[in-house]
Amino acid sequence: MSEIRNELKYLPSHEWARVEENGSVTVGISDHAQQSLGDVVFVETPELGSTVSAGEEAGVVESVKAASDIYSPVSGEVIAINEALEDSPEQVNESPYDDGWLFKVQPSDVSELEDALDADGYQNAVEAEE
């Protein structure tokens, strides 16, 4: 059983997106994803200031077991990256929705998130995989 947060949007590739009060979008990977990956040891975030595109590769999360590409749920400029993950990559496992966030985007078009899955949609996607 994995935790799925109701207020987030999700991609079928297991990234989540949270729209913050100031309009930026925080991105991370779901509890299901971190469970599948196992212990995370390296996180490659997009470069600060770079541009990401919705549905395109934006980084990599590498566990002892496997490397997994991270896709951005939205297009825009990367305005923050979680530097704490350099020394504590295990935060992705321990707190995938909070301290384990990966990067923040200033979206060029936040309506792109309407194409993403809501919590129920993501739940179905996860169950279909199992």
Binding site: G38, D39, V41, F42, E44, E62, V64, K65, A67, E90, N93
Partner: protein
Amino acid sequence: MGQKTVLYNLHQGAGGKLVDFGGWDMPINYGSQIEEHHQVRRRAGVFDVSHMTVIDVDGSDARAYLRTLLANDVARLDHTLGKALYSCMLNPEGGVIDDVIVYRLDNCYRLVANCATRDKDLAWMAERATGFDVTLNERQELAIIAVQGPEAISKVQSIASHAQANAISGLKVFTSAQSEGWFIARTGYTGEDGLEIMLHNDQAPALWQDVVAAGAVPCGLAARDTLRLEAGMNLYGQEMDENTSPLVANLAWTVALEDPERDFIGRAAIEQQRAQQGPDTKLVGLVLRERGILRAGQNVSIAGGDTSGIITSGTFSPTLGFSIALARVPRTIGTSAEVTLRNKQVPVEVVKPGFVRHGDALV
């Protein structure tokens, strides 16, 4: 739905993530594999290895039979009851059928082989027993529990009977003893001190629970793999297989050629390989100090453009904090090489296979 050891329910109860391993449902981890790894290096971890194959070889020709079957020489056990020997079992072409540990017990030799190779090992051993007065007795009723780490032995002694604790006190490394239903070997697959205990399936759950209550942390197969790789130990099926000579798997030291009268299976092929300047590849260790993880199957290239090297096992080393690997490479390799990771070339150091010893970095 694979085979289950008698500890299956305990693994489930401890949160074990069960996966198929050679036809058995085994725990890959109980939570963080990195934490389990650290526990073994710092204190004590406990592993269920009951899926492995145990075969007792007895009869008046047992010694002679094993001296033909195995590349290492069981005569090395003649002077010490309970002593262990690590050996390859070769085919006539000098390829490795399996790697095993053999113990000399007072009434037989006990051979412990891998799980995935069980059927072919048993068939091969039976076939090669023709003409020898031996019986092969697979001990399916025995469970095997490994307790490994600097505190492993003291934890086992704390829950053992008086006689068992005494037997353990007398154990030298790579020897075994039997006491009150336990076969206790001071052996392991982690590079740490510790014990591997064989006992009847019926007694195994109680031993597991007692050892856990004494503070040994349940550890799964994922931690087992990072531990053995740090220790520079081979895994059959990765570092060697039936098409691999021990001479290119860092196992030349396990092939005993001193007695010219001992004609073991594969001897002629090995001697021929050695005669022609030896094979042109060898097994080395690789260290990647930059970010990234070395993985089995990745290409290794050396100065001069030879790109034939290949990683046989790779992982992240929890003790060292970077990635390590074993690789089969040209003998001419120097002290550095390059590995092709997912989308780039990274520089690696070439070292002897063995990265951590008794918790300390060797690289």
